[in-house]
């Protein structure tokens, strides 16, 4: 009973924290919208509009009302799913975002699978072989991934793997030929093409995503490797590792069954954060590979001062991070009995 009550309060407290964070986030996006030097009215009416037109639009946007009232309207809009219209595209912002987000999610998910799939084993490997040449190789490898500017590696990779070797597809999400062939249902091209049974499109999409995803994955694996290595070194120095060896477990069994299970929690946290920053949009790689994703969208909006769209993008990035933090909190509770 008491256990259940503690859990209930824990969950309630968590929800409270999320609500407060969300409110703070909304305040932030609201004030970004108000304080940015861009003039939303001017952006709509253009430079040549008469004073009267300007005043009219100014009032219709509610900008003559007190700030708190404007914020209340903003809250109401957000909770009814109305994020305004993009000045740049003339479409509802939410529709634009729903269009670009799947491309980024697809790329980011692919990339994090590569990053974690590469980084975690390498980190463990490096920790186990600390200060031996294998460790040094891994460290140089990950340092390389961390310090190479990704637009440069992106271009080099395109030149080598696409232009010269022809192993992968070039820029875009699929070959020009296939564009518009598959009906957009989820927006995830790999899934849509499978649903439609268009295997050619699927292979083309896979061929296009593999290179940018590998580059992003490599660059985030650098961080994941380093963190895994240091978490693992921490655990390998613990006395319970000796206990496991004394019981007769082999080195590998000890590493994976005892030490590794103790770093899962920390790993989940850093992988979630790495995933978050990938979702936020990899502007550079999206630009190099002409990937129509969230990063490009956000950057274009910033450049053109499309305030409704910028506010919504910031809000989405914030929500993504709140969500990932929540996820890692929940996993903490599952993985570590001491936090229950």
């Amino acid at each position: 009973m008491s256990h259940r009550r503690i859990r209930f309060y824990g969950a309630a407290g968590q929800l409270g924290t999320i609500a407060v964070t969300l409110l703070g986030l909304l305040l932030l996006t609201f004030f970004i919208g108000r304080l940015m030097p861009a003039d939303p009215v001017r952006a709509i009416v253009g430079e040549d509009a008469t004073r009267e037109t300007y005043e009219q639009v100014y009032r219709s946007l509610g900008l003559d009302r007190p700030l708190w009232e404007q914020f209340a309207y903003y809250l109401g809009d957000v909770f009814t799913g109305n994020f305004g219209t993009s000045i740049r595209t003339g479409q509802p912002v939410i529709q634009d975002i729903l269009h670009v987000m799947p491309a980024t999610i697809e790329l980011a998910t692919f990339a994090i699978l590569i990053g974690a799939g590469l980084g975690v084993p390498l980190g463990v490997f490096a920790a186990v072989n600390k200060d031996r040449w294998l460790d040094h190789v891994v460290r140089v490898f990950s340092l390389f991934g961390h310090s190479m500017p990704i637009f440069w590696t992106g271009m080099i990779a395109l030149i080598v793997f696409y232009a010269h070797l022809g192993l992968v597809g070039g820029s875009g999400r699929m070959d020009q030929f296939y564009i518009g062939l598959v009906e957009e249902r989820t927006g995830f091209l790999l899934i849509d093409s499978l649903i439609a049974g268009e295997m050619d499109v699927f292979w083309s999409a896979l061929n296009h995503i593999i290179l940018p995803a590998a580059l992003l994955g490599y660059s985030s694996s650098a961080y994941i490797t380093r963190m895994t290595r240091s978490f693992m070194l921490d655990q390998l120095g613990q006395e319970y590792v000796t206990t496991a060896r004394v019981k007769g477990l082999s080195r590998n069994q000890t590493i994976w069954q005892h030490a590794f299970v103790n770093i899962r929690v920390q790993l989940v946290t850093i992988i979630a954060l790495a995933y978050g920053s990938l979702l936020e949009g990899a502007v550079l790689i999206e630009t190099v590979f002409a990937w129509p994703g969230f990063g490009q969208y956000l950057t274009n909006n910033l450049i053109t001062g499309d305030m409704n769209a910028v506010m919504t993008c910031v809000l989405i990035v914030g929500v993504i991070f709140i969500g990932l933090n929540l996820l890692s909190d929940v996993l903490y509770r599952i993985f570590d009995p001491r936090t229950r």
Partner: protein
């Protein structure tokens, strides 16, 4: 005399990169008895214990003989060593706060020893673990089995440790300062449990400690180590008749209840204690 469990002759251990050996020519034999190894911090007593299990990463171990039963430990492959550790020789570590895996259930950690060395089902390992928890006088084994290390006390943790290390019925148990992390009040309790289990099962015991009184009460024989060497070996009951000046110094430095209030004697270390006997 019965065949000894363990014969150690001229054991030398050097940690990687160190200029001097941590253990310099230690020799002793062990039958079905309880042997205490006493010495100050850094004297090499724990190093000897870990060397027997070949769990000293980065250290170089050499010996003329390091025979355990019919096995020559130093020439054994790592694979063969895996069958020795936990099954035939095990070690009780110092502090259960650190020596138990914090995120695995206590009972599973105990049962793992059995699972590792015998072909059996998980249910069978669980039964063995429960029986062993009972043998170390844990009152409610079923409940404790499902608890995590942070949920049990230090004394109970050390009893869990004992259960884990005796479960596969080894020939030799090394207890590396098994009670120094415990409250004085539970020390005796834990030691008595260990003592009776070791006696009942005829297990050889090496008790590594810096506590002369503890060793006097729970061991048959005592090795006194100083700076990586055994300076004196004697029966526990003869401890008061020790010859070596180091041992005499240690004894003299002990406080006694009801003794004179004079300042305790301080060891006067002599450089010749460091020299190896020819």
């Amino acid at each position: 005399m019965e065949k000894p469990i363990l014969e150690v002759d001229n054991l030398r251990i050097r940690y990687g990169g160190a200029s001097v050996e941590a253990v310099r020519g230690v020799s002793f034999t062990l039958g079905r008895e309880r042997l205490g190894i006493v010495g100050e911090s850094g004297s090499g007593k724990s190093t000897v214990g870990r060397a027997l299990l070949r769990l000293l990463p980065g250290a170089t171990i050499t010996a003329d003989t390091l025979r355990f039963g019919e096995l020559e430990l130093l020439t054994l492959s790592e694979k063969a060593m895996l069958k020795v550790r936990g099954r035939r020789m095990s070690m009780i570590l110092q502090d259960p706060k650190f020596s138990l895996n914090p995120i695995r259930r206590v009972g599973d950690q105990v049962g793992e020893t059995y699972l590792r060395h015998f072909r059996c089902s998980k249910a069978e390992a669980r039964d063995k673990a429960l029986a062993m928890l009972e043998a170390v006088k844990i009152r409610d084994p079923e409940r404790v089995y499902d608890q995590y290390p942070h949920e049990i006390s230090g004394g109970m943790g050390q009893r869990v440790m004992i259960a884990m290390m005796l479960l596969a019925d080894p020939d030799l148990v090394i207890a590396d300062e098994p009670t120094s992390a415990l409250d004085v009040t539970v020390r005796l309790q834990v030691l008595n449990i260990l003592d009776s289990l070791v006696r009942d099962r005829g297990i050889g015991l090496i008790m590594i400690s810096h506590d002369l009184n503890l060793v006097r009460n729970f061991c048959d024989r005592v090795l006194i180590m100083y700076a990586g060497r055994v300076v004196e070996t004697l029966a526990a009951r003869d401890l008061d008749r020790a010859q070596h000046p180091y041992t005499r110094g240690l004894l003299a430095a002990q406080p006694r209840i009801g003794g004179a209030r004079a300042p305790l004697a301080v060891l006067d270390r002599q450089p010749e204690w460091l020299e190896e006997k020819a």
